[in-house]
Symmetry: C2
Subunit: 312 residues, 2 copies
C-alpha cells in the first residue's frame, strides 16, 4: 500500500487511477488511502459544470481545460454519467469529445458512473474529488449529466458552480422552476452564436434581480464552447469567484457546511449498514411482509427494526 501512495505522491498517474478505483468502490483499502491522503486535499479549486442535457457541458469543460492549459495549469476532470438504476451501465455519449484532452498529459479525465438504486451522484463522489485534489491539480472540474438532483448535490461539493444555459430552449424558465438558478455562482449562455442569446441573457439578468443577493453579483457570460469564444472571460470569472470566496470568509463557511453534510451522510450509511448486519434476513423479511400485507405501517416497522438491531 505505501508503495502506491509513494508513487501517487511522486505524481504518477497510474497510481492515481488505481487509488481512485479503490476509493470510488468504497473498499476498506480505499478508505485507508483516503484517510492518508485527505490531509493533502483542500487546495484545489473545484468547479461544478451543470446544465441540461445537450447544453454543451462537455465541450465547455474541454474548452475551459484548454484555456487553463494555455495559462500553464494542470487540470483534473471528473465526468459523472447517469446510469440506469437497472443496468448500472454507464452511457458514455458525449464523453468521446473529451478524448482530445486525454492525449494532453496535463489533463487527467476520470469518468465515473452514478450509482445506487435511486440514481444521483455516487456516494463516493466527494472522496474522488478529495483524491484528485490531494494529487495536486490546481483545478478540478466536475461535470454532471442531466439536471435536477445532481446539480444541487454538486453545488455542495464544488467551490464554484457554473450553470450552463442555451438560447431558445426555454431552459431559463425550467431552471427557475427547479430552483437551480439559486445554486449557480456563475451563469453561462453557451451556444451564444444562436438566435435568442441576447434575450436569454436579459431574462437571466431579470431572474437574478428577483433572487436574494448574498453580497455578490452573479456574472452572466456568453460562450461558444466549440470555437472557444468567451472562454478566457469565463476562466477569469471562475478565478474571481474563488478570490471572492477567499476574501469574504465564504470559503470557510462552505467548507464547514460541506464537511457537516459529508460527516452526517456517511454516519447515516454506517448506521444503516450496522442495522443490516445485526438484523437477520428473516427478521427483516418478516417486518417487510407485515408492511406489504398492511398489518403494520412502515414507521412502526422501522422503529422495531432499529430497536431489534440495537438490542443485539
Amino acid at each position: 500500500m505505501s508503495d502506491l501512495i509513494e508513487r501517487f505522491l511522486a505524481g504518477e498517474r497510474r497510481a492515481l487511477s488505481r487509488i481512485l478505483t479503490r476509493v470510488e468502490n468504497g473498499t476498506p483499502e480505499g478508505r485507508e488511502y483516503l484517510r492518508q491522503l485527505y490531509p493533502r486535499s483542500g487546495r484545489a479549486h473545484t468547479i461544478g459544470i451543470t446544465g441540461g442535457a445537450g447544453s454543451g457541458k462537455s465541450s465547455l469543460t474541454g474548452s475551459l481545460a484548454s484555456e487553463l492549459r494555455k495559462r500553464g495549469h494542470e487540470v483534473g476532470v471528473i465526468a459523472v454519467d447517469p446510469s440506469s438504476p437497472f443496468t448500472q451501465g454507464a452511457i458514455l455519449g458525449d464523453r468521446i469529445r473529451m478524448q482530445d484532452l486525454v492525449l494532453d498529459p496535463g489533463v487527467f479525465v476520470r469518468s465515473m458512473a452514478s450509482r445506487g438504486a435511486l440514481g444521483g451522484l455516487a456516494p463516493t463522489i466527494d472522496d474522488v474529488v478529495a483524491v484528485m485534489d490531494a494529487f495536486g491539480f490546481p483545478y478540478v472540474f466536475i461535470e454532471t449529466v442531466g439536471a435536477g438532483q445532481d446539480e444541487v448535490e454538486i453545488a455542495g461539493t464544488a467551490l464554484t458552480t457554473v450553470l450552463v444555459n442555451n438560447p431558445g430552449t426555454g431552459d431559463d424558465i425550467q431552471a427557475l422552476k427547479a430552483g437551480i438558478i439559486e445554486i449557480a455562482d456563475v451563469l453561462v449562455v453557451n451556444k451564444a452564436d444562436r438566435p435568442g442569446a441576447d434575450v436569454l441573457v436579459s431574462q437571466l439578468r431579470a431572474l437574478l434581480s428577483l433572487a436574494p443577493s448574498e453580497g455578490r453579483d452573479i456574472p452572466i457570460l456568453s460562450t461558444v464552447a466549440t470555437t472557444g469564444d468567451g472562454v478566457p472571460e469565463l476562466v477569469d470569472a471562475i478565478d474571481e469567484h474563488r478570490a471572492w470566496l477567499d476574501t469574504s470568509g465564504e470559503l470557510d463557511r462552505h467548507r464547514r457546511q460541506e464537511a457537516r453534510h459529508q460527516v452526517l451522510s456517511v454516519a447515516q450509511r454506517i448506521l444503516l449498514e450496522q442495522i443490516r448486519r445485526e438484523t437477520s434476513e428473516e427478521t427483516l423479511g418478516d417486518l417487510v411482509g407485515q408492511v406489504a400485507g398492511r398489518s403494520l405501517d412502515p414507521h412502526t416497522a422501522a422503529e422495531q427494526l432499529v430497536e431489534q438491531g440495537q438490542a443485539v
Copy 2:
C-alpha cells in the same frame, strides 16, 4: 383524534385534508394517524404520471380524471411541485389548470411541495399516498414535475408508471440516457397532433425492443390531452396493467419491494435523528471543524460520531 378519524372514515374531505397535513409534516400525531389508517390502504390503484417539463402531465392527469369520472369512479390526485432547496416555496404554475377538476366533488386534488435540502420527493410522499388510498379513492394519481430522480422514486411508490413524451423535443433520447424508459409501464406520446408523433412512436418502439422484456409488452399510446383524444384508450391500458399485476404475481413482488425500501429508509432517518439527539452540537462542531480543516477525513469522523452517539 378519534373524532377526526371517525369523520375521515365517514368520507369527510375536510378530515382527509387535516390528516394529510399532519402526515405530510411528519408530526408524532401524523404518525399515529398513519398507524391507525395504514391497514385500510392497499386497495387503490396508484398511478405515477412522469415526464419532462412542459410535456403536458397536468393536462393529461386532468383528462384521465375526467374519463374516470365518466366511468363512475372517484379520483385522488397528488401534485408534487419542485421547490427550491433555499426558499422551500412551491411554485404552482400549471397546477392552475387543475382548478376545473377541483370543482368536481368526485375529484380530490392535493398539492404537495417537495422537501429536503436535496430536492426530490418529500420523504412523506409514501405516507400521503397511503392515506389517500385508505380514504377509499379507487384511483390515486401522483404527478411529478421535472425529470430524473423524482421519476425513479415515483416508480417505486406507484403501481403503474406512465411516462409522457412529446414529439419533436428529443425527449426520447434523453429518456433512454437517463434510464427512465426502463421504469415505464405505459408510454404515452402526448401532443400527438404535432408533427413528428409517428416518428416518436417508432423510435420508442425501437428503444423498447432493445430493453429486456419482463413477460409483458409495454404499450405505446398517442394522446392529445387538451382535446381528450386517446385518453379512454390510455385509461384502458392503465387498467390492463393493474390486471396484469394482479394475475402475474408482480403485485406482491412490487408491494414487498416497496415495503422493504420504505422500512429501510425510515430506519435510516430514525438512526440519524438518534445520532443528532445523542451528540452535542459541540462534539459535532468539533468533528466538522477537523474535517473542514483537513486534519480528519469524513469517514473517520463519521465513525467517531457513531461511536460517541452509541456510547451515550
